[in-house]
Symmetry: D2
Subunit: 347 residues, 4 copies
Amino acid sequence: MIKIGIVGASGYSGSELLRFLVNHPGELQVALCTSETYAGQCIESVLPNLRGFLSAKFEPLDLDSLKERVDAVVLAVPHKVAMSFAPKILKQGLRVVDFSADYRLEDAETYQAWYHTEHTSSELMPQAIYGLPERYRAKIRDAQLVANPGCYPTSAILAAMPLVAQGVVELDSIIVDSKSGISGAGPKPSENTHYANRESNVVAYNIGVHRHTPEIEQELGAVASEPIRVTFTPHLVPMTRGILSTVYMRLTEEMSTQEALSIYAGFYENEPFVRVLPSDTYPETKAVLGSNYCDVGLEVDTRTRRIIAMAAIDNLGKGAAGAVVQNLNLMFGFNETDGLKVPGMMP
Amino acid sequence: MIKIGIVGASGYSGSELLRFLVNHPGELQVALCTSETYAGQCIESVLPNLRGFLSAKFEPLDLDSLKERVDAVVLAVPHKVAMSFAPKILKQGLRVVDFSADYRLEDAETYQAWYHTEHTSSELMPQAIYGLPERYRAKIRDAQLVANPGCYPTSAILAAMPLVAQGVVELDSIIVDSKSGISGAGPKPSENTHYANRESNVVAYNIGVHRHTPEIEQELGAVASEPIRVTFTPHLVPMTRGILSTVYMRLTEEMSTQEALSIYAGFYENEPFVRVLPSDTYPETKAVLGSNYCDVGLEVDTRTRRIIAMAAIDNLGKGAAGAVVQNLNLMFGFNETDGLKVPGMMP
Amino acid sequence: MIKIGIVGASGYSGSELLRFLVNHPGELQVALCTSETYAGQCIESVLPNLRGFLSAKFEPLDLDSLKERVDAVVLAVPHKVAMSFAPKILKQGLRVVDFSADYRLEDAETYQAWYHTEHTSSELMPQAIYGLPERYRAKIRDAQLVANPGCYPTSAILAAMPLVAQGVVELDSIIVDSKSGISGAGPKPSENTHYANRESNVVAYNIGVHRHTPEIEQELGAVASEPIRVTFTPHLVPMTRGILSTVYMRLTEEMSTQEALSIYAGFYENEPFVRVLPSDTYPETKAVLGSNYCDVGLEVDTRTRRIIAMAAIDNLGKGAAGAVVQNLNLMFGFNETDGLKVPGMMP
Amino acid sequence: MIKIGIVGASGYSGSELLRFLVNHPGELQVALCTSETYAGQCIESVLPNLRGFLSAKFEPLDLDSLKERVDAVVLAVPHKVAMSFAPKILKQGLRVVDFSADYRLEDAETYQAWYHTEHTSSELMPQAIYGLPERYRAKIRDAQLVANPGCYPTSAILAAMPLVAQGVVELDSIIVDSKSGISGAGPKPSENTHYANRESNVVAYNIGVHRHTPEIEQELGAVASEPIRVTFTPHLVPMTRGILSTVYMRLTEEMSTQEALSIYAGFYENEPFVRVLPSDTYPETKAVLGSNYCDVGLEVDTRTRRIIAMAAIDNLGKGAAGAVVQNLNLMFGFNETDGLKVPGMMP
């Protein structure tokens, strides 16, 4: 029995992880849920969808005693906080999956440039594995520290990777235009998440400075074996969950939609959670709602020699908690799909 | 292995049933999906959330050969159609669960008065069991023909039943004001389900003539052991799934909210899918989204000696497909909760 | 030229009032907008829809100098704050329209019982006129202090008043079930207005204790010439604007829907902003979106001898800012409809 | 008094035009509304927001008698239908504004290539004026036939035009990623506009083949004085109204956001309905909801030397009916802003 502790379990990533794990068929148990805000309160009174599933309470975090309670820790806390906890947890011999951005980048300077804060445990960066199984499956199995990917990067990388790997895109041509549901901003009320501000409204934000940019560049650059710069523009659209990333890339050679789809189908042939859609079918966020699936589709615009590749995920599913489950499954020898073979919710 | 055939599997009730059944842990298999509209097409191309889960195609219905393919049939077709199929299926010795209204009422005259059509197999009405496990669990186990309850009645009956059973409400005082998501109207496009007509809009419909009225009256009347008339007003609110029914009843005696809650808690003590909420907590539809749960809460308004009891369900979950799974579990000896212990999706 | 000052102009009621007033055709001018939060900032940078309409800035409130700037003051501040400002403004000889609840009730004890706070200027209560032109048109013309009605009461009173006036309803039978958009909760972010909490969600709140209850009771009681108690249950539904109130009343005599509609049509014959809908047509909130209209419709349920009367308003329009404009028009001798003959926005 | 006839007045473009025109302050009158579907029915029973504004009925179209009824005709019918009506109307000496695409393109071959139908009145194409006042104001004043721009092109052209005119963008680098509300698909129910299919869903459509593409290319090409090809990807997002177009362009020279904004501010200095937003402020669709405004904002991503320019419009306002009013004002000598100085509706 693998005992999991979730630090910061009352946020959206943490609570979604709970929603997945209560149905995990393996020898895996949520043994500890901490919450600064709700310590002492019943989980099910804070998360009413889980009423009847969990009788435990949120606890305050006691970093030093984690080893007595759990085998692995999922950090569902903001960046900066995560890197203040992770070293101490790893020292106890516990394995860690980190929802935050603190260990996703390989390079402390890049981190500092985008996050405007010093990286206080950069010595751990080299050993952290970027938790995208579609790229680092083998390394994740053995990792002590897994950095769970950002939601936008997951969608952007999965949409672009096959063609970049194939070497048929102009590397300075990549533009990622993402449309996201509001839950990405978390459970804390703000002007940005205020119902009346978001309903019937679409707006871009953080253009040119969104912190997921270097993550996309790092991973696509690694695939291409050379540095890449992308233009990334996130938008908020009026829905709670879901990201659709539309990725524009200029092709270095002529290619039909069908040929491009073949490349994608081959690339993702053995992936349990990436579904390459047939031609004339584009990903829609609702088809993956609440699930760990990523739907990928594309069209080649021969007039402009561009490919428009799209990926749809649930930002809290494959973009966050679903990916953590997938990573935990790999790390602890479960079937990779345990607890995750759940279809999206339509209609 | 119990083989299930779903007739009319491409509609919302049928497809939601598929969504539940692909995760059923028992010896239960969907062996046949028919669809008039999509016969010959791959299920997963019609229902993109199920991509990767089902490789079969929708088939045309061949009533006479059902016995060779399946052990039980779920009818997910409109009323009138259901009663033209059910007798032939039962004759083959197959057990039937019917999503439609055709066998919910005990009385052919009442059916005719509300549905404005002749009941063509009224001889089956006496043997049909109303598929509300919270009331007819034992009978469902042995039933050949189960009439799955309507979505509104499920919420209204579960909200009102404990107090009516207790004999403490004025029976002519019951008013059911329901707020429903749009999916109750089914997948067929219409003015009523047109996005721009429903977004930012609330409207009542079918006041005084909604066909779920006699169903509520029949079941609450049976609980009270005398005829009951209720005022029922359904409303459409801008969301896809979910029903909140607010039930107003005048009490025959003074009672505190806490006392009323105790009656409810006792009444539903052993029910796996009815959750009675603590005081000061009211049901919200999102807490049961995509699930088979019904959340019930209440408040006594001592100034007017009325109780306001509320029930929240997913109209496609506990209000349709979830209930069918629960009924199939009972009929075929599975654990009643098999495939249904799935929390609602929040946020 | 009548110069208007709006105190608290950056909230939803205040900003909606600005939206109406920039198109007022009469000799009426917004001469001062105060805001505690945004004092010193350009109005159009805070309210981007008004960009290009107003070059002024929000100012801090200087109660003592109001007389030098304006002829009338609209108080768009919370209750308790309003009653701390109103006496000082009236003393300067300025006329006041108050958005808050502080002067709506005739009785300080009732106020105290529902608002749990002392009324500090109860001496003004007798002279305050309840700003519902459909009932107090003549008095509003001459009023120094107009208490703008609450959004829920406006809808409930307009839905119930004609029949109560006719004396054909059992006075203890009135139940008001209201469905409201989220903007009623104002612009301040909170858990209650958090996008992810409200989207795809319906929930009741403040059952039995909502502060609009005594306002409904006072006004319908005045119409009936005897005290009335109503059961009032407000609900939040996923939209920004709009209230639909469904009012249940038991009739003292048999009456057809058509007869009831005739009573309503007669009652509202000369009202410019109450539209009585024909039979088989029910009010929908979208038809009045952004407008000062109230659509009223009804159905008699002869089986239970109840009438179900419904009213739809925009809570920020006829339920707040539109009503203020209507009141200002009456108070200052403009055409009652000036600036208000704007259709709702459909689709 | 200018008498206007609207052919096809019950659709979204036509009904929105009515909503604008009931408040037009000039000597302009809607003298005729035709509708194939609703001929003989009261306008206000079909369009409930207009109840109380229009007592007329929809009439069948009698092409030959138009001259006796009106001075100008607005065609609010689909393409193909428009070009079958326009010649006959023009022959009667009436001026025409056409909502459809039939006269937007200068070149019949291009039309045929994108619309897959023969152009049956290509002789009128040279005289038709593209109804974008920001570019063709003077010509519109004298035009007999005005082709009202498409909603997507309006947003894309207004977002890109200043920089293209300045000659500082790589002309083969232009990508338009648009997010649109559902009302663009019109009032006819379909799978695409079905509530449950669109709620909580984002999806691209018509990639590489959307018919608004040649319109964008024609107009930006004219500005650049050389042919341009753009990649255009429209998306549906869950809201009724509004388009946000995000336009990506590679700069030929280094430029700061502030410098780019200066170019835009200068370019649109005298435009009454284009609002250039200050730096760090991006257009949001809600700020222009229901209005004729287009909000434009931008950011230069110096890392990739791209400019991201955005325009927000209401697809039924500046993207359709608002533009028609603006064009009618120009054609008939009214103030260009008559009936259009209406702020967007927030919240």
